[in-house]
Symmetry: C2
């Protein structure tokens, strides 16, 4: 190829023979191009076209020469932006070639070549900002940890000091019996350290500190989740059912032994046929006034108690929920203490226990089914805080409605709906810590000729993980808020707090499922190995969206609570009523709906917390009003309310979702406002912006339908989400390190 005229084809020949995206089709395109170039002689055409025959491929040596010719050309003209710029170099800037610029550029197009892309592939050691981005935190990790731990800092330290002891090394056996026993022994250690009875009254050996109890649940969740659930069953469900539903005589008899784990027990509510609809439980407790006993009975197989933790192996007693029957009158569901095993762990007469067998996760917890074959228990075993049988054998209760009494009883157990989302939160933190630390170290691909790049520098990888990191931070503060509301609750606030706890249980556990899914995928094959723990975190928390109330059912409860509040405020609605409802407390909304504002896209506005919160509130109120209006319309139109609620079920979930989004954002903003360390404040504030904007982006369909946002603004929001992710990249490692999860708990080799 000495002929300069032929030499100018080198870049194209090299490309069609080397680029894996160019194919046989491109050979044909180039062949055709050559054949119509009038400035080439016929023999030149033949020589060139012969270089394109599949049966006459250039040698690897020829390719290497071509490549070095191109490299030389590029050294002469580093500003080259298209293949034609190289062509000109190769032709020694021959003006003859310049005439054919259009032809060559057309050829580049026909081959589908992006000139700059191809050229950058020839360059050595390209510096790109994608490659050079890296960790470069601007705040002190320990200061943020202090803010996250808050007043519970001391108990969190204590729990960490225990679960990092050698005896808490993870159990690796796949033998369920060994695993269950290990978890049981761990629980005993925790009991000895006075962690189990933390919420019980001091009078019965407890710590009388509910805030610390929840912090214990959350911190333990950095370790094995079977341990947390077994711990929660024993000290939370079993112990707290005695404390919440029983009276002094029960406290005296049981609480101390429960707190020391001398008396392992169960919480036996769910039945095979009644999970979500617990009001329909069928187990019976029939009162016999002659000997002042109850007969506990399972009427048929599908009324057995199911999934009961601690039942299969260790439980010696259970709080059993059963319909109280006195003289053939059904007084609704009440709670009774029923012995299951003696102290030698032998199952008692009339008790039938089956093992639930292997589960998807949490195999360190011994779940079982329990049936009762006319088991007799003394009258004192009725947990009688809310209802009792008096000396005359008559039913007595301060709450006359069976329904209401039952829901009041359930209300006292709402603590479980705080412990679970907090445990889920910790699992999400573990997953994010593993995935983000690994993604920082893991390198894959890079600019041609350059080094491989940390996968955390890829925008898509950031988009997958950082909005979840932001949401997890947001939920942290929201759950602190719910915990505080619960601890300081008054009777008047109970319906709101119950709805809030139910909703946040769904919100946090769904976040954990989604987060761990993304973390697993982000870690690729390494994420699938058990040693890296994402798999077990995923499998163990999978049931969190179901137990303590199926999330979808809970979301409907939340929505019903919102609707009921709405009706109280606005009553029979007319159009004006709805409008005033939506506008009330959304002071900026009229300004927002102004076309200039619905299109406002400057950075200061997009990052403004007031804008975020107004948008969230607006959505919350509008969706609620619209659901209420639709329900009313359906019922006015003759639908049975039960059918009407079914028709709008999908909207009901949105009502709850929008409410929770607003609460979480609001609490996040309030919490950040109180940060004293300005550097962590700046960064966590960015997380809050990312949380808000990524939700606005997710819900943009709704905002556009409504007209609250216009397309120009939703597009600007999407860009801002990407930008925030990029800006958070240097802070990401420090943000997960601030969770301060002990290395022995993370354990994953890829994270250490």
């Amino acid at each position: 190829m000495e002929n300069t005229k032929l030499k100018v084809f080198i870049p194209f020949l090299y490309l069609v023979w080397s680029d894996d995206l160019l194919t046989q089709k491109e050979h044909l395109v180039l062949k055709k191009f050559i054949s119509v170039q009038n400035w080439l002689k016929d023999d030149e055409k033949v020589a060139l076209i012969s270089q394109l025959s599949i049966s006459n491929a250039p040698s690897r040596f020829t390719m290497t020469n071509w490549k070095s010719e191109i490299n030389t050309a590029l050294e002469h003209n580093p500003e080259a932006r298209s293949l034609f710029d190289i062509v000109i170099e190769l032709s020694n800037n021959g003006s003859a070639i310049s005439e054919f610029a259009t032809n060559f550029i057309q050829l580049e197009n026909d081959l589908g070549i992006l000139g700059e892309d191809v050229i950058s592939n020839f360059k050595k050691n390209v510096i790109t900002f994608t490659s050079t981005h890296q960790s470069d935190p601007t705040f002190e990790i320990s200061k943020l940890t202090q803010i996250l731990d808050g007043e519970q800092s001391e108990i969190i330290q204590k729990v960490k000091s225990i679960i990092t002891r050698p005896e808490f090394a993870y159990e690796t056996s796949t033998d369920t019996a060994i695993y269950r026993e290990k978890v049981y022994q761990w629980c005993k250690i925790l009991a000895r350290e006075n962690l189990g009875n933390m919420a019980y009254p001091k009078k019965y050996g407890g710590g009388e500190n509910i805030a610390d109890y929840f912090a214990i649940m959350e911190t333990l969740s950095y370790h094995d989740l079977s341990l947390v659930i077994k711990f929660g069953v024993q000290f939370g469900l079993w112990g707290m059912s005695i404390h919440s539903l029983g009276t002094e005589k029960h406290y005296q008899k049981y609480l101390k032994d429960i707190g020391t784990l001398k008396l392992p027990g169960c919480f036996a509510m769910t039945e095979t046929n009644h999970g979500s609809n617990v009001k329909g439980l069928e187990t019976t407790a029939t009162y016999n006034h002659q000997n002042k006993t109850f007969v506990i009975n399972t009427p048929h197989e599908k009324a057995q108690k199911e999934y009961i933790g601690n039942a299969a192996i260790h439980g010696q007693m259970a709080t059993v929920f059963a319909k109280l029957i006195i003289n053939e009158v059904d007084y609704g569901v009440n709670a009774f203490v029923v012995p299951l095993r003696n102290q030698n762990n032998q199952i008692l007469n009339g008790i039938i226990i089956k093992d639930c067998g292997l589960k998807m996760g949490l195999n360190g917890v011994d779940n079982g089914t329990i049936s009762f074959d006319n088991v007799i228990i003394p009258k004192d075993n009725m947990l009688d805080r809310f209802a009792s049988v008096n000396e005359q054998g008559k039913f007595e209760s301060p709450i006359p409605s069976d329904n209401r009494r039952f829901f009041t009883m359930l209300g006292t157990l709402v603590g479980g709906r705080i412990g679970i989302p907090r445990s889920a939160l910790a699992a999400a933190k573990s997953g994010l810590t593993i995935a983000i630390q690994y993604s920082d170290k893991r390198k894959q691909f890079g600019p041609e000729g350059g080094e491989e790049v940390s996968i955390l520098n890829y925008r898509m990888h950031q988009r997958r993980l950082f909005p979840l990191l932001a949401k997890t931070y947001a939920i942290h503060f929201a759950l602190q808020y719910v915990t505080n509301r619960f601890i300081k609750r008054t009777d008047l606030e109970m319906p709101e707090i119950e709805a809030l706890a139910a909703g946040m249980k769904a919100y946090s556990t769904w976040n954990t499922t989604a987060t761990l899914q993304e973390c697993r995928e982000a870690c690729g094959g390494k994420g699938y190995l058990s040693e890296n723990r994402i798999g077990v975190l995923k499998s163990d928390t999978e049931i969190y969206t179901t137990f303590e109330g199926d999330n979808t059912v809970l979301m409907q409860l939340v929505a019903k609570n919102r609707l009921s509040e709405f009706r109280k405020t606005y009553g029979k609605m007319d159009a004006m009523g709805i409008i005033s409802y939506v506008y009330e407390n959304t002071k900026t909304v009229i300004a927002e709906k102004n076309p200039i504002i619905t299109r406002k896209t400057d950075e200061a506005h997009l990052l403004d917390a007031t804008f975020h919160l107004s948008a969230f509130e607006y959505r919350e109120k509008t969706i609620l009003a619209s659901a209420a209006k639709r329900l009313k319309k359906l019922i006015d139109g003759g639908l049975e309310p039960y059918d009407a609620f079914n028709v709008v079920q999908h909207q009901m979930i949105d009502v709850a979702q929008a409410y929770l989004d607003r609460v979480v954002l609001e609490q996040f903003i309030i919490a950040i406002d109180k940060f004293e360390d300005s550097k962590s404040k700046d960064i966590v504030n960015k997380l809050s912006q990312l949380y808000a904007l990524s939700l606005l982006d997710k819900n943009k369909g709704w905002y556009l339908e409504d007209g609250y946002l216009e397309a120009i603004k939703t597009k600007a929001i999407r860009k801002m989400v990407n930008q925030l992710c990029w800006e958070l990249r240097p802070e990401a490692i420090s943000l997960v390190k601030a969770f301060a999860i002990p290395d022995s708990c993370l354990s994953a080799p890829i994270a250490l």
Copy 2:
């Protein structure tokens, strides 16, 4: 309460004492209301208010009486729609009360009561259409099965007849060693039945039937997924690497023994440091011309082969991908057959194998790491279809570019990217069959006083499962299409088919992950028990989104292929070029953008396949053009192409997604068009409408931003999605039964 004036308060008194949504606050509201009613005497007020004191709750007996008074009133006036209607009945239609209608209605509002809802709670045996909806299929299951199975019906039957034999009962041991051995024995049975070698040439004992091979992979996936993967590693990856990359001498030496499983082997490509970026593999194969051998070596720990199936226990040989070095020149990655173990299963000298240990799933597959310590293999062990070392010790290849040669080699292995999405499809079908059959039988909640209702009658439950059912059907036909394209491929079509297979691998496996997640949650606690198999389906398929190419990386490959096609067609773009591109082949689009059409919401239009496909095509083309435009703008603005691609990475995923959505819908419509059985055609057509509309609903943000749809239409689409779900409810059981998954494979007690 004999006084009629007092009697009218019964409904309110009953309600504040019974309704679990009314609280202390409502007591206060009612108390206040009573105190300001001028038509009550002071002593009447006192009597009423005393009934509201918490310390003076009515007895359960009083409550029962109140309730029966209300019931009687309702029998007199079954048309009552508000509490005030009952009040009028109780007052014996006293005109005195009617005067106070406004007061009482205001009270209802203040209490947040929905009158109709409360009243329906008093009615007995309410008939609601939610309760009476049920299975009532309109088509013959077997006819649909026949359509789904198509030409592979016979081999599918054969595979089913084998995997339903008693020896294929699922292994329940948690001991990995036992499970692995069982899976290996199952593979031997399948080999004996000539299923493993189905795709190999007849000359080497095979069936020479690739279509049947894929049908085998898919049908086996109704059974244990470890079995499918072990089967795929042996006969697909190991066997097909010999067949695709080797030549006659290798076929003669290995293929028959691979097909009978006499020679178990591995496919050793991935290394710890190089998973997605396989071009960067670091294992070396150094040629020694003196004794005509290669030395295979692992240069450092992180260059070990990782996650290699069949390596930990059974593999005797492996196809090893390594950089070929001749005289210190690196000729890029090539493939070599390397013995790992002798026939007594002893590991050979220089081979270091470690067990990957427990994984999240697929524990019946023995994945391991392999390192090579200067292992010597004969020259003949190089798989030399695309490159070889000649008699003179020189490198030879018909493909001069190392890069291109490597991607050509990978291209021949694209079959794996068809087997995996088809296996994933089967797992999604299993999950849907279990979840939908259980949801039909499972009853929970119901109208007050009525029976509990099948949870499949709840709209939200339908919304969670049916769009996924529709998508799974859609993917079924799309994968049939990809398989056919692959079998009938020409070289010219290869880039398109490779992109299609890569894309559908991501599309199908992500669908499976999402579907099984929803199925698990839809089955509640039962879905968590291992016996019901959703857990193991979930855990086993979790890695499908990673192996055979990380989905996110594959989607970028697809997008790059689309961009390259786009450039070939449109070259340097100007605004008109893009517009003409978008409009080309989207003939209806100009009509669609007409305001009357963007708002068109009549049922016939919303259900019209032409509308669906136009909308999908419009989105595909617009997103592609916009990504191309943005990339060009960024590069023109001076960004390195590598950085520019990173900036638009999020959009690249959308490009691929929109392309795949369109292909899947298009193939679904084409397939349905060929149905001969008109009854199944009608129903599957509904699934296609649901698939299309639920995706339009999901992407409504984009369509609204673009202006292709207006809010009135996106709202109508959402309603139509709900309506289609409701209409499909009676067909749902038959639609999953048409998958015809053997009961012994489903195995889940809740589904049988």
